[in-house]
Subunit: 731 residues, 2 copies
Amino acid sequence: MTANKWIIEDTKFEVNNVKETIFTLANGKIGVRGTHEELFEAETPGTYVAGIFDKSEAQVKELVNLPYFWGLRIYIGNEFLNPLECEILDYKRHLNMKEAAIYRYLKVKDKKGRITIIRGIKFLSFKKRNLALAKYEITPENYDEKIYIEHFIDGTTKNSKKNPAEKVKHYKLKNTKVSNDYIYTEAHTRESHYKVSIISFLDCRGNKISKDLDDSITQTVEIFPKKGEKFSVTVYTSIISNREIENLFTENLKELNKAKDMGFEKLFDEHKKELERLWKIANIDIEGDEKADKALRFNIFVLLSMGNPDDEKVSIAAKGLHGEGYKGHVFWDTEIYMLPFYIYVYPKAARAMLMYRYHTLQAAINNARKNGYKGAQYPWESADTGEEETPKWGEDYYGNKVRIWTGDIEYHITADVAVAIVEYLKATNDWDFFLNYGFEILLETARFWSSRVEFNSKKERYEINNVIGPDEFHEHVNNNFYTNFLAKWNILKAIEYTNFVKNNYPKEYEKTIKKVGLTEKEIKHWKEVANKLYIPWDKKSHLIEQFEGYFNLEDKKITEFDEKNMPVWPKGVDLSNLNNYQLIKQPDVIMAMFVLPQEFDDITKKVNYEYYEQRTMHKSSLSPSIYAILGLTIGNHEKAYQHFMRTALVDLENNQGNTEHGIHAASAGGTWQAAIFGFGGMRIENDTLSFHPWLPKHWKSMSYKIIFKENIYNVFITNQNVKITKIPYLK
Amino acid sequence: MTANKWIIEDTKFEVNNVKETIFTLANGKIGVRGTHEELFEAETPGTYVAGIFDKSEAQVKELVNLPYFWGLRIYIGNEFLNPLECEILDYKRHLNMKEAAIYRYLKVKDKKGRITIIRGIKFLSFKKRNLALAKYEITPENYDEKIYIEHFIDGTTKNSKKNPAEKVKHYKLKNTKVSNDYIYTEAHTRESHYKVSIISFLDCRGNKISKDLDDSITQTVEIFPKKGEKFSVTVYTSIISNREIENLFTENLKELNKAKDMGFEKLFDEHKKELERLWKIANIDIEGDEKADKALRFNIFVLLSMGNPDDEKVSIAAKGLHGEGYKGHVFWDTEIYMLPFYIYVYPKAARAMLMYRYHTLQAAINNARKNGYKGAQYPWESADTGEEETPKWGEDYYGNKVRIWTGDIEYHITADVAVAIVEYLKATNDWDFFLNYGFEILLETARFWSSRVEFNSKKERYEINNVIGPDEFHEHVNNNFYTNFLAKWNILKAIEYTNFVKNNYPKEYEKTIKKVGLTEKEIKHWKEVANKLYIPWDKKSHLIEQFEGYFNLEDKKITEFDEKNMPVWPKGVDLSNLNNYQLIKQPDVIMAMFVLPQEFDDITKKVNYEYYEQRTMHKSSLSPSIYAILGLTIGNHEKAYQHFMRTALVDLENNQGNTEHGIHAASAGGTWQAAIFGFGGMRIENDTLSFHPWLPKHWKSMSYKIIFKENIYNVFITNQNVKITKIPYLK
């Protein structure tokens, strides 16, 4: 590991799908996996554009793996220089997080003894999100031969490349044009009819040949460098889609020409400037713990890579723009795990993400109606239109079909969106958003819950039965604590804000109430539901039962941990019947305490933490960060640090074993929250900030910034001191 | 090297384009390069169907690299089992020449320690040339996991894959259909509008999924084998084209179903039976020299793989169906180097090859007319229609355009075709062919020469100026010996056969003469031309000048040889001005003595052999075999053996350095001729066979068979004895 805190380093040249994820570049609009140019066929390249989904033969809509536009092949004479058949004399790849750029140095010797050095820089512009730039310097170290540089855009990419049963080709290339000045093609998605326009230009001295090869397009230069003489190659690419504009060819050619006119260096400069602006607030420094410091920074880098203030019709997927896990769908992960980062660090991106929920509100209303409910039921998995995209069927190890129930009954997502609306408002004072959009969501979600509950006349209470809570080991449970508690909170917040808006913003109130069709009678019913909604919380013992009957299940505690410090299944557990045990996948009761900390006293937090922590298998990457934060709240510091490192390293150390399918975006958000709300101890109490930090002994200091309402708070923490300064936040 | 004389063995699993050529399977109709299934992307797969050419953006028509139909990928769970990322525990690949089948055994251990054994057999049926069969046995040696077997037909193959400047995609996939019972697609060539229909079926227990992935089609089975339990996979493929039939889908589905009904074993049996029938005559045994024995057999195997008695509209390309060198074009190589093998071993194939020249006779007549001549001028390079396909431009090392003149002025091909007609007739007595087709060719070629000559009134002679002879180091020469000598021979033979046919087959004579429009006056002119055609042959000194002025060129002799025993350029030679030296690329005067041995006495052969041998660089694979044969004729035995081994090993040892681009088909034919006409000493003298063998000392014996007229001659030679038996040849 290099000592430079901004650098993630790779020193082994190899086919490695995990590193493809880690070295992904993304700018909120485009994501390109960190595939080596030369290993295009052997690895799992991925090129994604936010919002471009298609179903075709897939079970559900997927974020489309679009044509790969960063293809580059070097030929010495007519021999393709394939590093896999060469001796690797030297290799280094750096992800420079400060610059959001990949630097690569590769020195290879082919079978004929010819040594070639290839240096490259790549970035996806944060300033002009449609632009992708790559620049190479190539040196024929010890030979004097003709070299071809072939840049290609490959149209054979498929989703689920490594799963022949699920593999789908989602697009066809259309309107391909090649000339000396550009190569151009469009990927038209087969069912959803999106059109993604890609234009590219290879800037290099030498004879140029452009080719339409049907499934790919290429631009080649023929060069006769002298031995030892280095030459440079720049690839300009612009990607736009019919989500933004209709006249694709004309507009994209303009974009390309503007980029060429500016040149690589200026484009790189303006990109770095934008990054500098973002890092100025986003960066967190931990002195005394290099590993934690860098791991945390990587998670922040991932978060920065996914946000996009300019597009309010997309949101962030569970695997970011970094891979195809979960099909590019948006889950509660976005609002509960990731959004706080954006709220406090990149509020314009946060607003755009919430606007995505507003633009899909009608779809959520339709979804509720389809299921026999009122209001807005947000889909468990959401793509471009906001319809429910959860697959109905999965497969167990033996190829047997297994029904997936989350899309049907994991309702809490709807309350999670409501929580996000309120948290955003509290931190930003963005009443414009709230009054025009957020308030409406709050009302429609409250309305959903009020229609979803069932009245148990025997027990004189409302219940929410047959659900899945955050802990997905237990399906079809009744009165899940997290679900019921957040549903109640959602209804109460809707009532509270209805009153507040009515009194303070009567004009906006009228507009929204009219649109939503809310009556006094309905509000009365909401109050009744909230009052009588059953919450399985024994206030005397402080211990909360995750759902009705949970405490009667067989109780196996975790006692062993593997080499990655992850829990080992207790002996005798039947993995095909997890419904029968108290073991949980991820926090549920504890989750409620994390989401709504002000609703629980310290002793309750402590009692429940201690109970559930021993029973949590962390089979979701959403789990450890929550235990880190709660652990710090209740004073379990040592374990909190372990949990923090687990979540911070989830991708860098691939400790969930599935990083190849994309980044753990929720875990990245969870890591940031564990740093800020956990070690950094930031809380909102009575609408103001307070800080109760705790640092591990070996940490000398921690410093971070957050934006709260009109100010940027600069927080510097040592084990002796907390120093807070604030400056106005200029939006 | 395995001791089994029928086996060519490969023991190293690697990306290797030379081995792809050597392990090519071909059956005269289809050729598939020996690409490893798993290395499809990294190697240079080639799938060719005889007669399917297309130009599109290429400089000239090319034999199209069609969709690759032998794709197979194994996935353990959802991980592609890529041997390049595995430890290769064991590997062996055999080309079984007796069976024209590839056997492969591969045992690999992946990064997770899972060991998989893959055994495979593949063949292209010699009995039903449209069928391609592959069978695998797969064993998950030490694991118990779900396995996917994905069979694919890939439609992204391109010509000149490794040359980005020349790369062309010649077809588009059309009419793709997938079902549980087959996957089907058609490759439609873009400019020539051929349609090649490919249908395939993956036979394996398990759930089957068929997919149209736009640029490829797949059939996948999901299997849950037990640890150590082997399972089998058979792929049935049938390939037909609109060259044969119009109703492609219906007919090819029938073909597939017939094949499935018969099953792999029976199809393999009938294929092997056909091979046995061919080998019965074709095989040559050399006792006492394993290396020579096997190398010779490999060349015979290659020749058998290229012949096809059932298709008289195609002929054999310079690189066979084994690669893309020379674009799949037919040269004089076919008639002069390869055809004798077919004449004496596989006469039905020989006839089909000559019929190709008959079917392209009109194109040759058009070609002559276009160039201002009469009669038939055969193209230097010929493809499907018989038009001239030689590229006009090449590129030198520095990317400068270089004019290629062979298509304009390497005229001797026309006489070479005439030679082949006469040789075929003499050996087979196939008067049916001669009277209906061959005679017409003989007349039109004679007519061409009579119009091509120029009268030099000063010297009172006919000349043929501005030509390239077989030795291509010297361009734009006047009165090349080989050209003039064969032109004269061509005219004289035409006159001779005109008389003979007139006297013996008057009806056929009338028909042909009428068709050709031949008059007594024209024949008189032919005689005049033949009499006065200048032949640069000083009968006193015996030494023949390759062309006028050759002896005045700077004379550098070859004195050094490289590690492959190939000549090294003499010091001081300027490679950019080879016209200035007596050094030659390949035999020219000696070539005439090889083609028409009866026209030269022994002393002339010896004098010229000794002169030219020292000046021949063997920069063509067509060279060594000729020196082997002539060497044996004149008694230069030791060098003859060296030349024989050079030509026999040209591909197995890649001694021309370009085997990756395809097999050296002419060299294969030359090897056979060196064996039979050289060591085997077979000659036709006065229309009967005679034998003057000579064997190297370490050869214990040599045995071969040839078909001559109505008999099969079985020849057994030792250093003491020649034993000849004959049995009737049943056509």
